[in-house]
Amino acid sequence: MLDDLDRRILRNLQEDPTQSLPDLADRLGLTASRLSRRLEKLREGGVVKGTRAVIDWQALGYAVEVSLRVTLDKTNPRAFDEFIPAAREIPEVLEIQTFLGQVDVRLSVIARDMAHYQALYRDRILQLPNITDIEALMHVARITTRTALPL
């Protein structure tokens, strides 16, 4: 179980995962060795899975981002098992999420421009198996991205 100290550590760390252990210890009023033991426990317990860098695809020249909400043909019991591995084969697919609700699967797709997106959509996306319906949401702006959970 997590206690208040664990939560304080995580709250601080998720605000800036690159800060050094001594800095973080200082901010929390802990010794570095106590903090590192706590962090080790959080990692071992699988609470902290890791730290990853976020790539800004727009800065890499991918100006278009589309969220595709896909409904699958559930009369085929293997609909998900066939669709998801095929979606993984498309490099421009950044995220694959499955849902309970109206939408079955959501793909987050990036493209260099609209012409590239159109080609991707026709030649790759529409070729994916078991699709009965696709609804596209074109990304306009990211208003808020909170990296911190309300711990």
């Binding site: 730290t51 990036i110 208003i143």
Partner: protein
Amino acid sequence: MTELDEIDLALLRALSEDATQTAGALGRALGLSQPATWRRIKRLEEAGILSHRVLDLDLEKLGFGVTVFVGVKLATKGRVSLDDFERAVSAIPEVQTVEHVLGFYDYRLRVVARDIADFERVLRRRIMTLPGAGNVDANVLLSEERRPGPLG
């Protein structure tokens, strides 16, 4: 930033999986010296391609049992109501991301909650009462995977 070569792409791939790797370790894996690797990472950061680092936490272990994507359609449109809506929605702590989208919905929210009952509370008390909020739909996330993206 001008052209990225294969080594840059490999660095992006490696750091987007594990950002705690040192320039020395990454360099060894790619056949580069530690300073040369460090310079490349610095260049990718300065170009804004490597934007920031995030801590990957196990939501379930932290007590957040459900993640829900909420589509919100605004009932009334206009410049003022967009700003008001965005400000109010961004202030809800359970709302992790807010995206302005074009299509059937105007905004897409990623919401975390302890359980479905907790989500219902957030939905009723905070989201459905947002200024200008009209039609709302919710889809509960079952699984999620992040792909490396088009990195060569």
